[in-house]
Amino acid sequence: MRYARQILTVAFKDLRSELRTKEAVNASVSFSLVILILFSFAFDPSAESTREFSGGLLWIVFAFAGALILNRSFARELQNDCLDALLASPVPASALFLGKSVANLLLLLAVELVGLPVFLVFYNARIVGSFWTLFGVMALATWGLTVVGTMFSALTVNLRLRELMLPMLVYPLMIPCLMAAIQLTTVLLGEPSLDAGQMVWLRFLVGFDVIFTALAVALVDTVLVG
């Protein structure tokens, strides 16, 4: 109970300070729009074959947009040495981490919900399956990206070249999660529902989330307190 309250306090704090400046969210949204437009030059957006990699396109955009938000997550605490005050408080490092992950999840999902309709319009696509199934896939995959990303935001917070290190370290780790998301999204943009073979991917996504959430929660204290 107390733990949950601590998580929410941290998440709420992060959301409030981000929404007040909107630095990361604005950058993330405009960046994803730019990539969406750039992709239209790389492929013929009106061609029928584009549908086959629409999921991939969308998730590459989300992954890029996510890096901008995740980079800020712990870097935000460096200003005025706020991280010290948080770590000295009785809040466990894992609650701090989960709170930040929740905030990042919500921010990134919001960016995705802006990017998705733009993508559908520009690429003449539509969601053939149910929106809520797609949203579920987005939430699961985004949580995967978020826990890994937030963990590495903590890992790289005191490093030189922080902004460069994060995407370099995080994208290879995210490959399985992105693959599952791409697979499922492509299906949902073209077919009414997931068949048994694709349910395996959904379970895989849940497994990825569970494994990396557990690892991050177990190790974040080691990373933050030296």
């Binding site: 005025n80 040495d81 770590l87």
Partner: protein, 232 residues
């Protein structure tokens, strides 16, 4: 009872020992001034006491319990080089946030009371970003004292402060000391520190060179300690 006890603390950076077997105890209600040159290990020691860094060897206890435990950490108040409040939040939001993190029963009232105490109640809804330097520092002081810590850890508390913030802080520290709280501070400002301190510890290249009560001769001649126990 000892409020803070450090037992044979070592801290290594790679193979370099930044702290070497430091042991000291601070009884409840005492005020210890940690002295030493730049790079002697004062900040490292304070960070270990605050649970921001782990000792390579040795143990820190707070009222007989492991200093890293959540219960111990809620009894510590820290004031470091940075003000550790958020620029994008208002003064009130900042204090409420920390009140919640410390699990205080009435965050809003506590926050308001401290804003009053530090003379910031008029600007309670102003964003910290717009505050003057002095106001930010007073808010930082309020943040550190908000949860009524029994142990205060201060890293160079007077260095960055302006006159008014120093006055506020000194008032609070005297009040805290007299009401039985324990204070440990690292400092360069010998005179201010020695007036407040009941005990003195000198760290010299990671070793504890002196630890004992503050005596009259230290107050009369602040360089006495360095001359007698400092580096040759």
């Amino acid at each position: 009872m000892n409020a803070v006890a450090a037992a044979r603390i070592w801290k290594f950076y790679g193979d370099y020992p930044a702290l070497r077997e430091i042991s000291f105890e601070v009884a409840e209600g005492r005020c210890l001034a940690l002295l030493g040159r730049n790079g002697a290990g004062k900040t490292t020691m304070l960070r270990i006491l605050a649970g921001l860094s782990r000792a390579s060897k040795g143990q820190v206890t707070l009222f007989g319990k492991d200093a890293a435990a959540a219960e111990s950490r809620s009894r510590i108040g820290i004031l470091g080089h940075g003000i550790a409040v958020y620029d994008e939040l208002s003064a009130l939001e900042n204090l409420q946030l920390f009140a919640r993190l410390y699990g205080l029963p009435r965050p809003a009232e506590t926050a308001l009371a401290w804003l009053e105490k530090t003379g910031l109640e008029r600007v309670k809804n102003g964003l910290v970003r717009e505050f003057s330097r002095g106001m930010r520092q007073r808010l930082a002081v309020a943040r550190a004292f908000l949860h009524n810590p029994s142990v205060l850890l201060l890293d160079e508390p007077f260095t960055a402060l302006d006159d008014r913030a120093i006055a506020v802080l000194q008032g609070l520290l005297v009040e805290a000391r007299d009401s039985g709280r324990t204070i440990i501070m690292s400092t360069h400002q010998l005179r201010e520190a020695l007036e407040l301190a009941t005990d003195v510890a000198l760290i010299n290249r990671g070793r504890l060179a002196y630890c004992g009560e503050r005596t009259g001769e230290m107050l009369a001649d602040p360089t006495w300690l360095y001359r007698n126990y400092g580096e040759a």
